[in-house]
Symmetry: D3
């Protein structure tokens, strides 16, 4: 059970600020479904709108990375943060965007290795190789 | 400074088990460089070999995901775990594999959004939508 | 289901060390309820007492921060750690101490932003500005 | 050293989108300083603008929580995420907004207790008390 | 509900690669049970085998640390990562390997203190004492 | 650089509450060294005393787990939390308490595996096996 009230469609219809976001979610995704996350955020319309606008810009509009790659990154973060809801929703989204089971298997293998080597590096407090630090060859400043 | 001794090339040459892994790292990557992580792991040759074999299978051999996508997933995990060494090394690897600055910018935007919505979902303890749970339509069991 | 036995009131009554802590919890909170966390810790009376004494000193006695602010800090930590029990219990405690829904909405917005910018900073490995480092203007030493 | 180029003022002056954000940071904070985080984000003006607009709305504009409380929440998240830059910058910001050393001491005590009890609860997998779950007494739905 | 199909014994019998790992799990543990984790990994036989081989080498074969100590370390990591499944399975394994309730109580106390002092150290950004850094008295290099 | 002033011995001598803790640290450890963590906490004598008393009870007094096992657990938590100071100090303490390099190698292998399997389990959202849940065979209640 959530710590917040989850807005019904009737409630959302009655609040113009919430309705506008719910309508845009439906239009952008071409689906009638507004998933529960947005129903929880609805109590704070400003945060609802800012979060949706950000997510839409990053995940739903054309960008330098393709939509499936974005979902895989989202999944990786959600796993590291242990966010069950986010793992379920973005794994479902990745499948909807064409992720094959072979790709999912490879994703799991990468995530497993990354967490393993992250822990080994951190345990040994390995200093960063000079070679990794030269990112642009220009002096920094302000 | 690390909590372990970092093996020099001379030391690695003198230990057949370590030398075999260092040689394979160089051959696989077509580079003379063996980065510091492996020099720290060398004190435990069994873990050195198992970790390298795993990383090679997942990151250096052909798989269902392309090499750059794998690096982006690795970076996302490393950021969530706050592993400075891993962030530097895999960001460098992603650039070596062709990541453009526009792709890196998109990566940052996705990682930022994912951590933001992960936190919001967790704070509100949002229950998972039924729609996300039907992953394969088959009963599970054993 | 927990990994430990949850002590009933009858069991607690029969163990003087546990009873003393449960009695103090009830007296301090002016409530009959001893929540489940303490029932799990009861198997180790020394840890039970030390944990309760610490929590009482920090959260239940007058301090430099007011009780609601302390709960908001507790909630923020619990969200970042993904502790479902702690999120529920401290969100309930914050509401009991007067947190309005508008304050909760603002809390969510801050927590979301903090996790987003934490991730961006970590991904980019931004060096700390000199200006942030001068905390007291005195040389340190021992 | 960062993984990104840190924009100088001269570079920012030459890019209208970046200049607009840097100008707004200076105007909002009534300070000439644009801290390094924004100089790292500048390579992606869209993310720079969205992040600054979000931070400004949440942290710099009047809200239901006072500015110091917001900084304490930000600090708590940053500690849990281990973001060194964010800890330094928001601890400095909290002091600039009036945090006393006694308040900082209390903050540390709360953060320490929260991380301790989070771990204990998680280790024992304590189920959430029914009493904490009744957040609004209304049926949820969509 | 999981994001993957959990393989039944019948399905595992029909796939030689999966069957070989399941057989080895049963033989190594002298038990008929193959726990659910392996049934989820079975969709990717290469990751299944690599993960099991690694776990077996580290946790089931004689090593420098005794089996119970290994389980306690595993539990500590799982608590810090908030992995409910792993906490349950490794706490059960520790009990099967002889962990007493007094030892479990001590484990909880150590885990609680470690998370508390980790947070305090991180919040205060304490620099590492020189005395802790001299790990082997030899110059490092390559 | 820390966010707090690090107390010198002269300053500690002049404050009875701080002096009492520093004296007890030296007596308990039979060493003249008071490491930097305590010098940072000294600004809040109540938190200093509570934290030291807790650490002493858990780590310095005889308990159900031997001192080296306690340090290994502490190290595992510190790695998962990414606390550099704590990793260095507790790895040094483990060595001082007799940890061999072979034991350290095994520790690293366990920590690596645990973080890997934690991530895989979390990614797949594996449900806990019934067999792991029967911790004491007694009904719980209050």
């Amino acid at each position: 059970m959530s710590t917040v009230r989850l807005w019904t469609d009737q409630e959302a219809e009655a609040d113009p600020a919430v309705k506008a976001v719910f309508d845009d979610i439906r239009a952008t995704r071409r689906s009638d479904v507004v998933n529960t996350f947005w129903r929880g955020l609805a109590s704070d319309p400003a945060t609802l709108k800012r979060t949706w606008d950000g997510l839409k810009a990053v995940m739903a509009e054309p960008g330098a990375l393709d939509p499936l790659t974005c979902e895989l990154i989202y999944m990786a973060v959600s796993v590291a943060n242990g966010c069950s809801y986010c793992i379920h929703s973005h794994t479902a989204a990745a499948r909807a965007k064409g992720m094959t089971e072979a790709q999912y298997g490879h994703f799991l293998a990468v995530v497993g290795m990354a967490n393993q080597t992250n822990a080994l590096v951190t345990a040994m407090q390995i200093p960063v190789d000079e070679a990794f630090l030269v990112s642009d060859g220009r002096p920094t400043g302000r």
